[in-house]
């Protein structure tokens, strides 16, 4: 199941592509990496110690469940606070 973009009355930035775990993922400039992933049906950001998938939780920067690695800089950042940029490559710990 994926999240749905509200279309009516909304104009987004230009279409861009980010790469998540090696897979291209279409989204729009201005979106957060978290929103882009959810809209593409990617809702597991890591697996926990029991091997179970974990999703993001707070969408406001406090829970750290949405951490991903930016391949270019090696930085681990919160996807809910990181704006998607065309060709940005991210890796989850799924």
């Amino acid at each position: 199941m994926s999240a749905d973009r509200i279309i009516h009355g909304v104009v987004r930035g230009e279409p861009i592509t980010i790469i998540v775990d090696g897979e291209p993922l279409a989204c729009f400039a201005g979106e957060t990496v978290a929103a882009a992933m959810l809209a593409a049906g990617v809702d597991a950001f890591r697996s926990d110690r029991r091997g179970k998938p974990r999703g993001l939780f707070c969408n406001m920067g406090s829970c750290y469940e949405c951490q991903v690695t930016l391949v270019a800089s090696g930085r681990r950042v919160r996807a809910c606070l990181t704006q998607a940029v065309d060709a940005m490559e991210v890796v989850t710990r799924g």
Binding site: M1, A3, D4, R5, I6, H8, G9, V10, V11, R12, G13, F28, A29, G30, E31, T32, A35, L38, A39, D43, A44, F45, D48, R49, R50, K52, P53, R54, G55, L56, F57, C58, N59, M60, G61, S62, C63, Y64, E65, Q67, R75, R76, C80, L81, Q83
Partner: protein, 453 residues
Amino acid sequence: MADLQHFDVAIIGGGPAGQAAAVALSGHGLSIAVIDEQPRPGGQILRQPPARFAVQAWLEGRSYAPLKQLLARFQALSGITWLGEHSVIGVQQGSVMAMGPEGVTTISARHILIAAGCQDLAVPVSGWTLPGVYAAGGIQAFLKGQQLLVGSRVLLAGTHPLQLLIAAQIVAAGGTVAAVMFAQPRSAMIGALTKHPLAALRRAPDLLATAGALRTLARAGTPVLFGAKIEALTGNDRVSGAITNQGQVACDAVGLCYGFVPQSAVPRMAGAQMKPAGPAGGWACVHDEWMRTSVPGIAAAGEAVGVAGAAAAAAGGSLAGIAIALDLGLIDADAADRAARQPRRALLQHRAFAALLDAAADPTDHFPKPAGDTIICRCEDVDHATLTGQVSAGGSANAIKLATRCGMGACQGRNCEPSLLRMIAETGPGSDPGFTARFPARQVSIADLLPPE
């Protein structure tokens, strides 16, 4: 670590409280930094869509109007350095360390205002770690800020009336809400209203917003249930349903809405004196009549001093701004008193309404019962059974943290602390001060803390 920047005033948080403080301080020629980890100002209540988006009819409801006016005034101010996408990681008297896209900056400031707002209370229930289970405020922030519906059938469950508003916003955006489940009986909510009739009257618009939300949900045929308690959330790789005391509910997203707790990492790290924030838990800054905390040069406003809603946050922010102008010698005591009259009155009123909300939303007796293997500390995977053992042995929160790693993980205990403190409180009277807050408030890359090689 990057350069040192100097400001007269550093405001942490660009929500209503931070905005109002900046507005109150404007016109004195001060250099003011407003630091927020969101790219744009607005705070949680007005989570703005990205500048790249154009959204018609954004937050049109009547209760948002004054907040949008405040935001517009704030955005029109000159002399403000907006440091969006900057997370505050540490505060000491006179200095703020913030992490931005270019690394870490140290900001020195004569006065610091902590207006970092609140976060959803994280409430553990069996299955809550499944993808698709969110803090309700997070679902709403996707709606407001990203124009995204997280699921096609959203279940909202908890005790806080805000979930009615969120449900109505989902429905208005074309989504479907499986149900809005209040764990408390309807009488508990009505009782709270009738006990505080004056406060309720004064804030009629907010109550009308709730009534409006109820009408929207009724038109959509969305069930609003009382005494409806979730027992477990189910699903394999993502949530697909809920088991409740009123039967099973199919859904593909869940928002948990049991209330809000102040973001207290920053003031606690700075050594400010804190007090229990309210029935939902968490810690609020103790402050004087001018919003000053116990640490000289550090003030607090908005939900940092207790969760009382956006209007109270704005009033407190104004008061803090006036007080900083007073402390900087820009206005005299009489002028400060005069200017403070209106925000003081507003603060009193709004707090009375907040007390009503607190009573109506009180989750104390309505939390779901976690199973033994329900994870309480999401970051370190510490389950309820493990903590039960430690709690019954009589340890403090800090001792249990040390023994089990509960609260030692990536989120610094923000999610699990209230749950653990509730468990400790159940064993008897006594007040546990919670986890010792540690630097950094947000994790930060080591490369960013160092000078370039």
